[in-house]
């Protein structure tokens, strides 16, 4: 079974971003970029499935600007076999990303798609569900444990009330949550080896898919910031403040 794992280039999760001067977007000039943390977990899981003999090949896919090659190299260093970059200088919406990915899935005869449950930039959390919908297959979102067994994949999902167990028929799309695994650090030899692994580039426009945006961003603003309050010197003082607040409520 071939696994497709999706990788997104995002701003480093530890960087606090700013809105640009004309309130049209977030200012990403000179911002450190990285692989989306949830995508990294997906890559790790795909590689583990290959190491366990479940997967025959792991293909990493990124859809975005040409610099996304850096994040694909990261995926290759973790252990993906080859990579595909579908280039688009325009930021694409989850629906367009899902449509492009569905084309790749069909072409490559993919048995399982792994991806992050959300990207930490747009915080949409839609791509996996949309892809499963377009493919007409089962979906497992917010997955914290997975086990492939024959034609099925058994999952534990992190849901609001606790944990849910479900079983899906393959092929399927699975979105990864934080607790699925801890991604390995790519070793230097593997980083060097990744540079020689195949990375193919295609243009998004060549897929014959409707990429037109459905959503217009009218404005991007900074949120109201909280003012730091007072530092108290004792628990007694804290209890006093809490009592005042309680009465106010």
């Amino acid at each position: 079974m071939k696994i497709l794992v999706m990788v997104k280039r995002v701003s480093d999760p530890n960087v606090i971003i700013r809105v640009n001067a004309d309130n049209s977007a977030v200012d990403l000039n000179n911002v450190k970029m990285a692989i989306n943390p949830f995508c990294e977990i997906a890559v790790e899981e795909a590689v583990r499935l290959k190491e366990a003999g479940v997967a025959s090949e792991v293909i990493a896919l990124s859809i975005g600007e040409s610099q996304s090659q850096d994040q694909l190299r990261t995926a290759l260093a973790i252990g993906a076999d080859r990579a595909l970059l579908i280039e688009s200088e325009e930021a694409l919406e989850p629906l367009a990303v899902a449509k492009l990915t569905a084309k790749v899935v069909a072409e490559e005869e993919i048995g399982l798609v792994l991806l992050g449950k959300q990207s930490i930039d747009t915080d949409n959390g839609q791509t996996g569900q949309m892809l499963a919908s377009i493919m007409g297959v089962a979906q497992g979102t917010f997955t914290s444990k997975l086990e492939v067994s024959g034609e099925k994949v058994n999952l534990t999902r992190e849901v609001d009330s606790g944990l849910q167990s479900i079983s899906l028929t393959l092929p399927a799309v699975i979105s990864c949550d934080l607790r699925l695994n801890e991604p390995r650090f790519a070793s230097l030899p593997n980083i060097m080896k990744a540079k020689r692994k195949p990375l193919e580039t295609k243009a998004a426009a060549d897929f014959g898919v409707d990429l037109a945006p459905h959503i217009k961003t009218l404005k991007v603003e900074e949120p109201n910031t909280r003012q730091a309050g007072v530092v108290l010197s004792s628990v007694a003082e804290l209890v006093e403040k809490l009592n005042i607040e309680k009465e106010a409520v």
Binding site: S133, P223, V235
Partner: protein
């Protein structure tokens, strides 16, 4: 305009966050239907009929909707979608699981986790862990959106909607629900609690959360946790507050041994009053706290427990 709201429920009862979604729908305007899909979900449907502003409750009660599997529920919603201008769900794990699947099937965009309704086609939502707010608009014929519960007040419950059975059975046979382990607790739910006390990595172990539970019981509070505490295995995932966990906005939020990483702040910074107890005076949590106490939590929390 007619709006369809997907009820959040556990068959036996309706979850309060559904009432927040109804308020968002009321702000959009138009008739509102509510869909209750589940198995043996009649009592949830009766609760839904009491929500003010709902004209019709449609109940799809069938074994194939047990566990609210995304494949089947999305197909059910798709089968009635053409009757609606908006399809709305609360931003819960169910809503987030099901609605993007519906949107793709309808070939329309999905608005995730909106925090305000500007007009029937324009909404605000947070991006970059709440560090920016985007105003977004779409001309799609059907708007599909999830609603952040804490951003909208609860709707009233003095309505009397008609209840109709929706007998459509969409069993795609792609997925099987096995079971769900529900954390039993006498305390209020995180997303609707008026007071929350949360612990972070500083708690050092799951056992130490008992200190917070004692204080929580005195305050009538829910107990939450930072991602670090959940990752370390101290407490289960359903307690996580943050960008990728639960978004909360209680009247009082007490952060204990939590440094205040960006992703945690994204989940709680809309709380009315924030209290931080941390031994590191430089912890970022103090930058958003109304009241900060620089102290060892193992001294401060038992003292707080005594004093309450």
């Amino acid at each position: 305009m007619t709006i369809l709201i997907i009820a959040e429920h556990d068959n036996g009862s309706l979850k309060e966050i559904t009432l927040n979604a109804v308020t968002a729908a009321t702000e959009i305007g138009g008739d509102i239907d509510m869909l209750v899909a589940g198995e043996n979900c009649a009592s949830a449907a009766q609760a839904a009929a009491k929500i003010s502003g709902i004209s019709r409750v449609r109940v799809a009660d069938h074994a194939c909707y047990n566990g609210q599997l995304a494949e089947n529920v999305a197909a059910l919603i798709q089968s009635v979608a053409s009757e609606y201008s908006h399809i709305i769900a609360p931003s819960t794990s169910n809503g987030k699981n099901i609605l993007p699947r519906v949107a793709a099937a309808l070939d329309v965009a999905h608005f995730s986790d909106i925090i305000s309704v500007e007009s029937p086609d324009t909404f605000k939502r947070t991006i970059y862990a709440g560090n920016a707010i985007a105003t977004v608009q779409s001309d799609d014929a059907i708007k599909v959106l999830t609603v952040r519960g804490t951003a909208f007040p609860l709707s009233e419950q003095n309505g009397s909607a008609i209840i109709e059975a929706l007998s459509t059975v969409k069993d795609l046979g792609l997925s099987t629900f096995i079971d769900e382990s529900v954390a039993e607790s006498e305390r209020p739910e995180l997303t609707s609690a008026s007071t929350i006390i949360s612990g972070g990595r500083g708690m050092q172990s799951g056992d130490n959360f008992q200190m917070l539970e004692k204080v929580a019981d005195k305050l009538g509070a829910a107990v939450g946790a930072s991602r670090a505490a959940v990752d370390a295995g101290y407490v289960p995932n359903d307690m996580q507050v943050g960008q990728t966990g639960k978004i909360v906005a209680p009247d009082l939020y007490i952060a204990v041994g939590i440094s205040g990483a960006i992703q945690h702040l994204a989940g709680m910074k809309d709380s009315k009053v924030i209290v931080a107890i941390n031994k590191d005076p430089d912890a970022p949590i103090f930058q958003v706290a109304d009241f900060g106490l620089v102290a060892d939590l193992f001294d401060a929390v038992p003292e707080l427990d005594q004093a309450l």
